[in-house]
Amino acid sequence: MSAVLMMKRLTLAALCAVAMLQVSPSRAQQATEVQVTYSKGQFQPSEVTAPADKPITFRVKNLDPKAMEFESKSLRVEKVVAAGSEGVINVRALKPGRYEFYDDFNEKARGALIVQ
């Protein structure tokens, strides 16, 4: 087998592996819904809970007159929610722990998801 052919096969194998890894069994499970309101530059409630090992759907209702960006490095999600609208953010099944989230447009707006 030529080296060029070998490289092409390696690339194809890697792409297949990545595609297989992407199929997450958690998608099939029922998601836990978490409701958060964003008002006057604050999350309400600022701390929410969810069970471990189940996918989570965040429903973020932005009551402020300007857009906010729901973001979390540990949840690995971000979504801009327009003024007066609701954003839906799907999160994978999580292990127990504390996961912080914030408004990327407003340093002071912080919240946390406690998974237990």
């Binding site: 690339t11 890697a14 690995r76 994978r92 292990k95």
Partner: protein
């Protein structure tokens, strides 16, 4: 002998410098409250060492990532390769990157290399990253597996017209040693490649290695650190023909200018190396005296 002494001298200078950076920063860090800082994306805080971060689902980023390599045994040698890169995160476990490569070569009087001064569009690449172990508040370790196929029409080292295929495979791991403040990064590298020259000659080679890095967040938007790399070169993809190895050491810097824009910079000097069959200090046949990295990124 003189080279050995010079290398030792560089080593002796680099280590205290790194120590000073850490010690000097510790005081200012104590004064700041890291608990109020947002979590940091670890992918770019370790210099040449890549952290485990894969971005946020739905996030897109454009980056310009330049790596310069400087200094061979004789003459003057400066080569750069720049990635013009688009990256995105389609799921909470996968990141995909692709882009074009541009290169520059300024070579004169280097044994074994033709004199050259050129700028070229040199190739293309893609990278697939999978987050295998994720960090939580109860687990400080995160691990990402990455593969990066690359095709080049310009040889990275000599600047000659070639057909080069490379398949970089890495394990990127990092540990959060102190919440939001101190991070350790580790990489394992296996990089086989095959190069066909204009004369029809085919060369197979591979580089394997590992790195360790330590990065301290001295302010919410500034991270300083140091890293060390050990690299081995083979004239075969299956690692049967060892030709030499090297140790690179140097400082790293990460600065976040705005929530959506940041830069990372790193500089490594070769502090130890050997070439098989050549009793000289440092390995300047397969590696270089210095390398530097400068990367700017814009998220959108």
């Amino acid at each position: 002998m003189r080279n050995r002494a010079a290398a030792g001298q560089r080593h002796a200078i680099a280590l205290p410098l790194l120590s000073c950076v850490f010690l000097g920063c510790t005081g200012s860090v104590r004064a700041q409250d890291a608990s109020s800082w947002k979590d940091i994306e670890t992918k770019y805080i370790f210099g040449f060492t890549t952290g485990s971060g894969i971005g946020l689902e739905g996030e897109k980023e454009f980056t310009v990532d330049s790596i310069g390599r400087f200094g061979k045994r004789d003459g003057h040698y400066a080569a750069t390769e720049t990635k013009y890169e688009f990256e995105f995160t389609p799921t909470q476990f996968i990141q995909i990157e692709f882009g074009a490569l541009g290169s520059t070569h300024n070579i004169g009087g280097v044994t074994g290399l033709d004199d050259r001064s050129q700028v070229a569009l040199s190739g293309a690449f893609a990278e697939f990253r999978y987050l295998a172990i994720e960090r939580t508040s109860n687990n400080p370790l995160a691990v990402t597996l990455a593969v990066e196929p690359t095709v080049r029409r310009i040889d990275e080292t000599s600047g000659e017209r070639v057909r080069n295929f490379e398949f970089e495979t890495t394990v990127n791991a990092d540990l959060e040693l102190m919440k939001n403040r101190l991070f350790a990064g580790f990489n394992l590298l296996y990089e086989p490649e095959v190069t066909q020259t204009a004369t029809g000659y085919t060369q197979r080679e591979a580089t394997v290695g590992g790195s360790a890095a330590l990065s301290l967040r001295v302010a919410s938007n500034v991270v300083l650190g140091g890293e060390v790399w050990y690299l081995r070169h083979y004239d075969a993809a299956n690692l049967t023909s060892f030709t030499g190895d090297a140790v690179m050491l140097g400082p790293t810097l990460y600065v976040q200018f705005t929530p959506k824009m940041f830069m990372t910079a790193a500089w490594n000097a070769q502090v130890w190396g050997r070439e098989v069959g050549n009793l000289v200090s440092l390995n300047l046949a397969e590696f270089q005296r210095h390398r530097a990295r400068l990367k700017f990124a814009w998220e959108f």
